[in-house]
Symmetry: C2
Subunit: 66 residues, 2 copies
DNA sequence: TCTTTTTGTAAAGCTTACTTTACTTTTGGT
DNA sequence: ACCAAAAGTAAAGTAAGCTTTACAAAAAGA
């Protein structure tokens, strides 16, 4: 699964730590999701979408391998 | 987190087993998510949205306690 | 009512999400 | 070059997703 978290953060100009804060997870969790080390829960995906005011599908996209 | 899986299934007239098949998980996984026993991964949420041709947010909604 | 399909659960096991702590590397500003 | 902030990563531990097997309850159809 691909994601556009880095881009969305850049547009909002917030750090991984700030995003983590707003969502209520650790900074490492954001970093790990952003770099594709693991797949977040649907709750986290919905919270991110809310922070960025985008649809979940705009932030996370399925790949063939999923 | 709330979900409308049961309703979406009813509209498409498919069983939990058929949905599980289309998404590639076990029937119990669908049942457990549908009855709120656990929160699915974002990959599963995206696949469900694709099956139902709806946005993730239309199928899964955050609650206060999330 | 009898039979089949669907749904609800449960337990055990494996895998992966997420945490905290901690350290290194990269980036940006002066 | 120096300093501070941000990002990357790792290890160990806990929590939770998901699987398989299995069985009971409920719903649906004849």
């Amino acid at each position: 699964m691909k994601n556009r978290i880095k881009v969305e953060r850049a547009e909002k100009n917030i750090s991984q730590a700030e995003l983590a804060d707003q969502i209520g997870v650790s900074r490492q969790t954001i970093n790990s999701i952003e770099t594709g080390r693991y797949v977040p829960s649907t709750i986290l995906a919905l919270k991110m979408a809310r922070v960025f005011d985008k649809r979940v599908e705009e932030i996370f996209q399925l790949e063939e391998t999923d």
